[in-house]
Amino acid sequence: MIEAINSAMDVMLERDPATVVMGEDVGYFGGVFRATAGLQKKHGKTRVFDTPINECGIIGVAVGMGAYGLRPVPEIQFADYIYPGLDQLVSEAARLRYRSANDFICPMTVRTPFGGGIFGGQTHSQSPESIMTHICGVKTVIPSNPYDAKGLLIAAIEDNDPVVFLEPKRIYNGPFSGYYDRPVEPWSKHDASAVPEGYYRIDLGKAATVRAGEALTILAYGTMVHVTRTIVEEMGIDAEIIDLRTLLPLDIEAIEASVNKTGRCMIVHEATRTSGFGAELAALVQERCFYHLEAPVERVTGFDTPYPHSLEWAYFPGPVRIATALTKILKD
C-alpha cells in the first residue's frame, strides 16, 4: 500500500505543477514509512521537501501555499502529532472558503499514518478520525487497500477542499487478520493489491461493498475491514461488509440500503468508543433504518484509555471482541 500512496503523489506531481509534497523527513530520506521515497530525486527539491518539526507551521504554511495557488500535500509523520496543527486545520484550512465566500480556498491534502497494532504506544497509535469529522469543512478519507489508497489519494489531491487522508499504518505492508501472532500476509495475495501505474481516481464519498451478505451489515474502514472479514469468514457468517472509505462526506445511501436489507448493523473501529465515529454511525442508522432493525446496533471499538504499549493486544478490537459482538447481534 505504501507504494500505491507513493505512486499517487508521483502521478500528481507529474500531472499538476501546482502539487507540492512536504513534511518531516519526506524529502531526501523519503519518509519514515517510505511513502515519499524517490519523489524528491524525481521532481526536485522545491516540489518535495523536508520541513521543520512543527505541525502548526506545516499546516499553516500549506494554507498559505493553497492561497497562492499551489496544491500542497503535507505529511504529518504520525496522526498523534497533528494536534499542534489543529488550529490551522480547524479554524483556517476548514473555514477559509466559507469565511471568504470563495475568495480563497484550501486545496490541501494532509496525509498522516494512524492506528495501532505496531507497538507504537500512546503517541504512535491513535485514531483521531472523529476529531476530523467533527470539523465543518474538512473531508476525511481512510483507505483499506492499495488500489483504493492510490485512487482516493489522487481524488483527495484534486479536491478543492481540505482533505485529511488517514493511512492505516498497520496495513501499509499487508492486510491484517487481527491475529497478531500469525505471520504477516503480504499485499500480493490480496485481490486489491494490483495497482495500475498511471492516473486513476476513486471519487470521495463512495463506500465499497467488500463482501455481500444477508445476515448483518458491518460498517468498517481501514485496518478493521480486514480484521472483520477474517473473523466473519472464520465463523461462517453471511455478513455484508461495507468499507466506508470516506467518513465525510459519508455514503449514507450505501449504508441505508445495506442495513435495510439485512436488518442488523455492527460498527467496528479501532478508535476509542465514547464520541467515536461509531456513535455517529449508530445514530444515523437508528434515525434512518429503525423500522428495519431486528437488533440493537452494535459497536466494537477500542477502549476509552490511552493506547497502551505492552497491553496493545488487550486494547485492540481483535477476534475475540468482534466474535463476541457478532454472536450477540445475531442472537438478538
Binding site: T51, V61, G64, R99, N102, D103
Partner: protein
Amino acid sequence: MPESDRRPARNLPPLSLHIPEPRYRPGDTPDFGDIEIPAVEATPRPGEATRPDAMRELCYGLVRVLDFDGQAKGPWDPKLPADRLRTMLRYMMLTRAFDDRMFRAQRQGKTSFYMKCTGEEATSIASTMAIDRADMCFPSYRQQGILIAREYPLIQMMNQIYSNRGDHLLGRQLPIMYSAPEHGFFSVSGNLATQYPQAVGWAMASASKGDSRIATVWCGEGSSAEGDFHSALTFATVYNAPVIFNVVNNQWAISSFSGFAGGERTTFAARAVGYGIAGLRVDGNDALAVYAATQWAADRARTNNGPTLIEHFTYRAEGHSTSDDPSAYRAAQEASAWPFGDPIVRLKQHLIALGEWDEARHDALTRELDELVKTTQKQSEKLGILGHGMHQPFETMFEDVFEEMPWHLKEQCAQMLAEQEAKFGPDWKPE
C-alpha cells in the same frame, strides 16, 4: 510530609513568582520620560543585504525619520515627493474618519462590533504604500489601513461591517474581518497570528515559482506570544522566505500590557535575533520611518536576502474594540502622554514645514473625507444594517462549507428553511 521538610536547608530566600504589572493603572498620572528616544540621525541604515547578525543593534534602537518639529532627517529619510506624502496623509485621515463613523454606527446599534486603529494608522498605511501593489498582505484585525491605501471601495467595507445585502462575505464574518483578493488582502481570521505561517507559505510558493511578489503580514505584540508566530519565523528562516513580519506593538492586548508577551525583558524586534532574521524597531507613529523600514525589508526580500521582522513601536489610543472599556485597566492620560505623538498630526506638521500643506487645506480635507464617509454610509445603509432583515438569503448559511454541498448539509438546509416557514407562516418564501 511537612512543608519545612521538603525544602532543602539552604541559606537562600524562598523563590518568588513574577507577575508582570503595568506601571500605570486608572487614576495614575503616566510618565513615559524613561522611554529611550534616540536622535533621528542616530540609527544607521545598513544595506539591504546585510547579514542579520551584523545589524542586531537595530532590534534595540529605533528607526526614525521625522523629528518632533516635523523635519525629515537622517539616513532613513525615504525622500518621498510631496504628492506622495499628501496621498499618505489623505489615506490616514480617511481611515480615521471611517473609524469614527463606524464606531458611532456600532454605538447606534447598526452593527455588533467595530475596531478602530486610532494612533496606529501609519503602521498599515505607510507600510502598504512601501510595497508593490501586487504583493500580498496578510492582515490581523486592525489593518483596515491596507484596504484604504489600496483604494478598496469604502462601501464594500461598510457592507461587510453591516453584514447587509451587499456584503460579499454573505454576512458570515464578524465586522471588520474583510477579505479582498483583488486588493492583495487575505481573509482576516479571528484567531490570532494564524496568518503568520500562512504568509510564509504564500511567500515560499512565490519563491518556488520564481515569481517576484512578496508577502507581508501583521500581528500585535500580544499575539506574538502565539505558537504560530514562532512557527512562522522558523519556517521563514529555514526557507529564507520573501516575507515581511510586522509586529504592531501598541502596548496593550485588550487589558494585558506588553509585559505579558515578554515586553519587560526585551524588544519585540529582538525576537528576530534568535531566528537569524533581520530585525528593525521603528517609531510606529512616524509614517516616514514605517515607510522607509518597509521599503528596506521589501527590497531585501525581493532580492532573495530573506525575511525581516519589523516592530512598530506605537500606542493603541482607543479601546481594543467596541466591546472594551480601557478606563477600567489603564491610566486615562496614557494616549496623550505618549511621547511619540499622533501619526497624522506628525505627517501634517511635516508637510506644513515643507511648505506643501496648511491648516486651511487640512481642515478642508477633513471636511471632504467626513462627507465622503457619510455619503458612503448612507448608500451602504440602503442595503441594510445588521439585524434588520436585509440579510443574505437563508440558504447561503450552508453554501461554501465545501465546493459542493454534501447530502447532510442539504438535509440541514431544508430543515432550517422549514423552521423559517414555521416561524413566519405559510406565505413565507425563501429569499
